[in-house]
Symmetry: C2
Amino acid sequence: MTPYAIAIHGGAGTILRSAMTPEKETAYRKALEDSILAGESILKKGGHSLDAVEAAIRTMEDNPLFNAGKGAVFTHDGKHEMDASLMNGKNLTAGAVAGVSNIKNPVSLARAVMDKSEHVFLACQGAMEFAKKNHIEFAPDEYFYVQMRYEQWQEALKSDTVILDHTSRTPNPSPSGEGNKFGTVGAVALDVNGNLAAGTSTGGMTNKKHGRIGDTPVIGAGTYANNATCAVSCTGHGEFFIRSVVAYDVSCLMEYKGLSLKEACQKVVMDKLVKIGGEGGLIALDAKGNIELSYNSEGMYRASKVQDNNLYIGIYKD
Amino acid sequence: MTPYAIAIHGGAGTILRSAMTPEKETAYRKALEDSILAGESILKKGGHSLDAVEAAIRTMEDNPLFNAGKGAVFTHDGKHEMDASLMNGKNLTAGAVAGVSNIKNPVSLARAVMDKSEHVFLACQGAMEFAKKNHIEFAPDEYFYVQMRYEQWQEALKSDTVILDHTSRTPNPSPSGEGNKFGTVGAVALDVNGNLAAGTSTGGMTNKKHGRIGDTPVIGAGTYANNATCAVSCTGHGEFFIRSVVAYDVSCLMEYKGLSLKEACQKVVMDKLVKIGGEGGLIALDAKGNIELSYNSEGMYRASKVQDNNLYIGIYKD
């Protein structure tokens, strides 16, 4: 039995101490802790890392603080279109969904795709039909209505801009001061049997059009897990993460070039992504329980816990 | 100036000499030659590899012999849902679309996503709205009606099976004898300025449900190009290709492990994919003009041409 470990992120971006109130910071820390505890409660009992990842992500999907599930941002048409994916490092099975609406927990739909279909990746209306057939929980539009998200959308509509999750490119930060720091959520876990798993879930970009899909549901880009190397979940400017096949790149640098987890994450996030202008970060975990929380943005909501060690929670640059 | 090179595929699978008529074989050879010539005419004039890839793929999309564009297979609901992607090895830009209907040439829609949007990946209805705004050519349902495809669909409906493109898992081969050998089309090219590009296009699986997306539009899985390593386009059982991040894996084995193009393709197609049961193949090209046409299935429709060399066309195992 190896010691278990879990790490989560709640998005990267322009997260400045100066723009945070003590109340908000407390709420975020509590939310990150709740997510870690949900995952840890499974790992502690000897459960599978995949279940821990799903539980940790569901907790964040249920919390309006994060851009996933309940807190998903508004699209240009005033809808919520969500993406999610999961990968099992033991056998390299995976499940992913893109462009789904009214699904309470997209990560659990991705899990159902992995477990109950012969496919890996389902999209849009078809994915929702699959959800219905498999008794995945739906929620009405009202459930996804969060006042702050509505204001962000209205503002984006006015300026006709797309607000990229996590980036600092918002021309006019929202009145709430939160426009620049929303993002994808994700988790990576290692269970006592040495199995790695990774998962990611997002509401995408405020005011997004045209069924845009980011890196979140793209296996290899936003999510990857392989017991032989590592588990990775990304958050950032999705287009750059897709083009750089970020999550699998970390794995390849370890497997083919012999880099450590830390070296591989540094190379990808602080060198390769920076060179092409790709803002964001990732969380990664190897089979020895080493954890890396790497980001090239101002901050990243993040937390981690290794079996007998203390809980770590971070928001800003350390 | 480097000599130009181009390679294409029209799908892999159970392609047996015994099931082929001379007429059909002649038609396939002509179709493959037409595609190479369309790409070569651009490369010959000093054009960009990306334009050559798009032109070569468009030719196959326009030919009902291939499962892409006009010849796209029927979904469970009697529709045609197509996926395509393109990548430019010079600057790692990419474009991809998934689940689009009534688009005459999905590869050109992927090109428009790359050139005219700030995104990489658009899906379903949203992608089609983008197509309308950008004056991409639409075609009515009748255009996509191909009698043979209709029969395949009816047969799949009867047996309630999903016919995976390229695989030999069809319980009852269609009366046309072609049920096991349809697939994705793709092209890779190297232009005289040393730029690599790759593209892939597909109609997916006969009788597919739930908005299933295969590897074709997934950058890193079905398509990848990088001037520093290679250009790759895949065809096969998409779920395995997504989980194995096949196209980028070839690139990583070259860049990080120092394998030649040939060694990398052999490792991925004949070893790694075979071990997990992933049937199919790929075409790959490096910056020196080396070409690999690798497949672990019975055959693969394929062709290649290096500037002053003869045209190569293959269908069965050599």
